[in-house]
Structures are given as C-alpha cells and as structure tokens.
Amino acid sequence: MDNGQHTHIVKYSTFVWILIILLVLTFSSVAITQLDLGVYTVTGALLFASVKSVIVLMYFMHLKFDKKFYAIMMAGIALLLTSVIIVTFLDYLYR
C-alpha cells in the first residue's frame, strides 16, 4: 500500500490463543483474590490486570506489529499516570 500503512495480517489462531491466555488470567485473578492474602490481594489483582492489559495492547491493539512510536508513547502514558499517582500520594501518605 502507498499510504504509509504497512500491512501485517495477524492469523485468526493467534487471536484465539490470546483470548485463551486472557481468560486463564482472568479466572486465576478471581481465584487468587478468593484466597486470604491480606494486603497482597490488591497487589495480586492489579498485577494480573497489568499483564492482561499489556497482552491486549500488544496483540489486540497491534502495538507489537505497528510503529514503535505508539508503544513508546503508551509506555510513557502509563509512566506519567503512575508518577502522578505517586506524587499525589506524597501528600496522603505523610499527612
């Protein structure tokens, strides 16, 4: 194609595999939060959520096959939001 878009056709089977992985992660996160892990429940649940979101971004949203710019910016946004939350917590943690 001549309009700057390079084509990368992802196989149907890839998507099916990705879905299976995502479902397994979902059920594991439900299972793990049923256990009593104390303060680590939220950490565990968020860890699973982060892994799932990375998979969705890389495969469903084609970041793996697209220009690096999008992936870098996406990482930057995640970092920005995390930093803003951390800086906000400098107030709440020590108030």
Partner: protein, 204 residues
C-alpha cells in the same frame, strides 16, 4: 461543507491511526483522573471499601469480563478478515461484537437496578446511614462504571457505523483504517474494564 472541493483530499491512514492513538491516550487519562480519586479514597477507607465491595456480585463481574474479552477478539479478527477480503465474515464478526456489547449492557442494567432497588444509589437514605467509605465506594462505582458504560454505547455506535461502511464497500481490503480505529476504541473499552473489574469486584 467542503467548500474547496478542488483540493484533492489526501489520504493518510497512518496519520488517522496516530490521531486515534492520541485520542486513546486522552481517554486513558480521563479515566486516570477517576483512578487517582479511587486510589486516594481506598487508601483513606480500606475497611469500608472492603465491606462495600462484598455487595457486588463477582459472578456478574466475571461474566462481563469474559464477554468483553471475547468481543475484543471478534473485533480484532474482523480486521484480519477484511484484510483477507472476506466481507461476509467481517460483518458477522462485527455483528457478534455488537451483540456481546448489548449483552454486557443488559447485565449492567440488571446489576444497577438490583442495587438501586436495594436502596443503594447516590443520595439515598440507606447509603447516607452507611459509613463515609461506603458512600464513596458506591459513588465511585456508579461514576466509573457509568462512564465506562457510556463509552460502550459510543463504541457500539461507532462499530455500527463502520459496519454500514463495510456493507456499502466504503471500507475495503485496501482501505480499512476506520475499522482499525473503531477496533482500537473497542479495545480501549476492554482495557479500562480490565482495571475496573478487580478494583470493584475482587478486593473483598
């Protein structure tokens, strides 16, 4: 509205996609604002959030998560099938996506009406007698899932519009960036739900 028709409309698919991605960043930070509020109030009221989350049904939440993940796969597959020039399959896959979205909304409807019939809604008597943490939890629950549901409705509209374009062959195997953009938008809805689900249903 295009009052200088003689300019040849230049087509820039990569540019359209860049625009969509930046818009997605915007959306992420829109929800980001709510996530900041959530994390602060959760930190300030850990027990109340814990208790309030038990009011929510993990099964309904899990079912809705599965629905969104599957719909995300079908819309991603729709791009593959349009690249392979399979118009019929593209339409089917997009139709399935919309169908799943509607099922999600129906679930949400029953969940919300269930809560409201129990008297749990912002400004209600029962909620005002609960602890402050619970008021905040349900305030955030309605605001965040409500804003998410609004995005689902917009996403359904967007995908339905692109379906029409596929049907009329305005979106083809060599010109499908709007389909990609609608899919990106749909994945965004999925992405946000991936975080909403554990934060509201799984922290008991």
């Amino acid at each position: 509205m295009n009052n200088h028709a003689h300019i040849d409309e230049h087509r820039d698919d990569e540019g359209a996609k860049t625009g969509m991605w930046i818009f997605i960043f915007t959306e992420l930070l829109l929800f980001g604002g709510l996530f900041i509020v959530y994390s602060v109030y959760r930190y300030l009221n850990p027990m109340a959030f814990h208790l309030a989350a038990e009011e929510l049904d993990v099964v309904v939440g899990t079912v809705n998560t599965v629905i969104l993940l599957v719909s995300s796969m079908t819309i991603a597959m729709a791009i593959t099938s349009i690249q392979l020039k399979n118009k019929k399959l593209t339409l089917i896959l997009m139709g399935v996506t919309i169908l799943l979205a509607i099922i999600f909304m129906v679930n949400k409807y029953f969940e919300w009406t269930g809560k409201i019939s129990h008297g749990i809604f912002p400004g209600s008597e029962i909620l005002h007698q609960s602890s402050q943490g619970e008021i905040l939890f349900f305030g955030l629950y309605y605001a965040m899932t409500g804003l998410h549901a609004l995005h689902i409705v917009i996403g359904v509209g967007f995908i339905a519009y692109v379906m029409w374009l596929v049907k009329t062959d305005d979106v083809k195997h060599d010109d499908y960036v709007i389909l990609e953009n609608s899919a990106l938008y749909w994945h965004l809805v999925d992405l946000i739900w991936i975080f909403l689900f554990p934060l509201f249903y799984l922290i008991t």
